[in-house]
């Protein structure tokens, strides 16, 4: 053990170099990993969760559209056919996007496989039903029931799994992205303590008040640690804002839109089955409760909104309107049931499928969905903006931390090298 001053100085220098290197490495590693997690939230998790949610919603809407098409007195209204085609095109399109981005194995990949395999089977059944329907043959309705069953038994559950899985993955990425950089900060603090101790030692041994090299190194490490902490705080602020004013509402509104499609399908199926008051009525009531109930998705959306935020205000206006429309729909549905129960089946179908009557449940359901879709878009863009801002908060942090640590190492080396040289 070197007890001489030069020996001690050499030891101190080695310790400082190692610590400086460790600070740089830990800081850069932290920023690198954090950047990847934020990218997961922003570039992958966000759009992926949105795509999964759109697949889920489009499938639910396709099912409802097919049921309503069947119910309409007119053979296959063109507008409904187009909506069905649009829904399916969206699903196929999004599936390609999602398939390329989900992890290669696991529940999401399985769900994508189930969707890819069964979607053409579903459309095949719907087209078969369509050909028979155009000839007014009951085989058409039979194929339709089979298609709808495949949808509700296989496709929708897979789409829901995919959506929940991707949302979960995004939440996990967010938690990892906002975790406190304990390790890097601890190493940085240790380095600062070591630098301080070295300077106290030097002052005592050499009777020079300040070693410029070590002082510069201290400033550089302090700057690196500060940069790290500030960029972390930026990530936390933006991702939390994206969550509180974006992701939460996106999730509720997506559920609400799916509840709308499900209520619409139940309403149509109830008329098709001519089974007033049966299980389809219960399904309708349940879907309405999901929308309008005290703990329903619309109430939860409104409760989740902050005070002054402009995007929150936009969402609040849209959702408040949506609540009114949903209540009108519930009233109109009661009228549909009343007509059917009184024996006026034709009138009931008219009120449920009409496209001109503003009180028609079809018109109301469409308006409701449009309002929810607009609100969802606002929430979604808030989320995207905040995620980009979180990404920007990390811009240059890795290079800055790396360079500052490098400078600290260089400054320490130069500062101590001079003192060591004095002893040779």
């Amino acid at each position: 053990m070197a007890r001489s001053t030069p020996g001690l100085l050499g030891l101190i220098l080695t310790v400082l170099l190692v610590l400086g290197l460790a600070t740089g490495a830990a800081g850069v590693a932290d920023v690198t990993v954090r950047t990847a997690r934020v990218a997961d939230v922003a570039d992958r998790g966000g759009p992926l969760a949105v795509a999964a949610q759109e697949i889920y919603h489009s499938l639910a809407e396709a099912d409802a559209t097919v049921a309503i098409t069947f119910l309409s007195a007119e053979q296959e209204p063109v507008s409904l056919r187009q909506r069905y085609q649009t829904n399916l095109t969206e699903v196929s399109d999004l599936l390609v996007t999602v398939a390329a981005r989900v992890p290669a194995t696991g529940p999401s990949a399985d769900a994508v496989a189930v969707l890819s395999v069964n979607l053409p089977v579903y459309t095949g059944l719907v087209e078969t039903a369509r050909v028979y329907n155009r000839q007014s043959l009951p085989l058409g309705a039979a194929y339709l029931r089979e298609a709808s069953w495949l949808m509700r038994d296989t496709l929708l559950p897979a789409a829901r799994t995919l959506w929940l899985e991707e949302t979960e993955r995004m939440q996990q990425a967010r938690q990892e992205a906002t975790s406190v950089p304990w390790f890097a900060l601890t190493v940085g603090a240790l380095t600062l303590v070591a630098l301080g101790a070295a300077q106290v030692f030097l002052t005592r041994r050499t009777r020079r008040l300040i070693n410029p090299g070590l002082a510069a190194a201290t400033v550089a490490i302090l700057a690196a640690v500060t940069w790290l902490a500030v960029s972390w705080a930026g990530v936390v602020r933006h991702l939390e804002a994206g969550h509180q004013h974006g992701a939460v509402q996106v999730s509720y509104l997506a559920e609400a839109r799916t509840a709308v499609a499900s209520a619409r399908a139940s309403e149509a199926l109830e008329l098709i089955a001519r089974s007033g008051g049966g299980e389809y009525e219960q399904e309708f009531t349940a879907a309405m409760e999901q929308l309008l109930g005290e703990d329903g998705y619309l109430a939860r959306t409104l409760a989740s909104l902050g005070g002054e935020d402009t995007s929150d205000n936009q969402i609040r206006q849209l959702v408040t309107l949506a609540v009114t429309i949903a209540e009108q729909w519930r009233d109109s549905h009661a009228e549909v049931r009343h007509l059917d129960d009184r024996g006026d089946y034709r009138g009931a179908v008219e009120l449920a499928t009409g496209t001109d009557d503003p009180a028609s449940t079809g018109v109301l359901a469409t308006r409701l969905d449009e309002h929810l879709a607009s609100a969802l878009e606002v929430a979604s863009s808030t989320f995207t903006d905040e995620s980009s801002a979180a990404m920007a908060a990390l811009d240059g942090a890795a290079i800055a931390v790396g360079v500052l640590s490098g400078l600290a190492i260089a400054a320490s080396a130069i500062g101590l090298q001079r003192r060591i040289a004095e002893y040779r």
Binding site: P138, G402, A410
Partner: protein, 318 residues
Amino acid sequence: MRRFRGLLTLGLVVVLGLNGCGAPEPMPHRSAQPVPEPRPPGVVDPVTQTSAPAENPSCEDPRASLRPTGEWGPSLDRIRSRNRLVVGVDQNTYLFGFRGPDGQLAGFDVDLAREIAEDFFGDRNHIQFRALTASQRVEAIRSGQVDMVVRMTTMTCERWQEMAFSTEYLTAGQSVLVPAGSPVESIDDLRGERVCAALGSTSLSVLVEHPAGLIAVGAPSAVDCLVMLQQGQVAAVSTDNTILAGFVAQDPQVRVVGEPFTDEPYGIAMAPDAEDLVRYVNGVLERLRADGTWARLYDRWLAPHLGPAAPPQPRYRD
């Protein structure tokens, strides 16, 4: 000094090098998915037991109903005050009860029900249809959900326990339907094969107990059996020849083989205690047979597919 400069360079390289790109993601690999084989919802495969009463009640003649007397009672009062007739029908069986081109129900059973409404109210539209599957019929009558069921219902002694029937309005018999190219010529050729009939139908009970050793498959509606036949999931459908005639009309690639091997008299089903209604309906059927309405309906819906026929003669037990 050179030593330290080297160390310094190394440090910077290590520190900055950590910021490089990650490895490319591996190509996604997916395990093989099972080939989807969609089926109609609610199929039971195989059916090994049908819910027939434990002991076979016997009655003198399942075809015998109550004679029309013109007597008025509480069941008729209820219909009168409601101002419409509520009738359970099928909406999935071609020629009997199905959605016509205008979205309204049509078919032999549906028109028969409308004739009863016409007789009662003088307006064939004072009627409300409830779509029922075969297995929903008993409950619909028991709960009073419908006044009557006009839905290809075979009059049997077992069913007389739970419902009252009108006089017979059509005679059917169970047959076998196979793909046009199938070598099957009768039900005896179907040993070990899947054969489908509607759940809750007499046809399915016959299949379950048939000595030919076939596998009975039940579907909610008979037409679901045709779907399964088209998809190659069953080898044959065996049910009333009246229903099978509607299948042939929908799909020329299937054919009916062999002669009917059961006797299925169709009656309109009502609540067991609705004696006044049963007598009233029988009066209407008398008129339809006599004034040529029955023949007109038969010619419109069934004659092209089943050949000419005369209305079954009513039998009464008073």
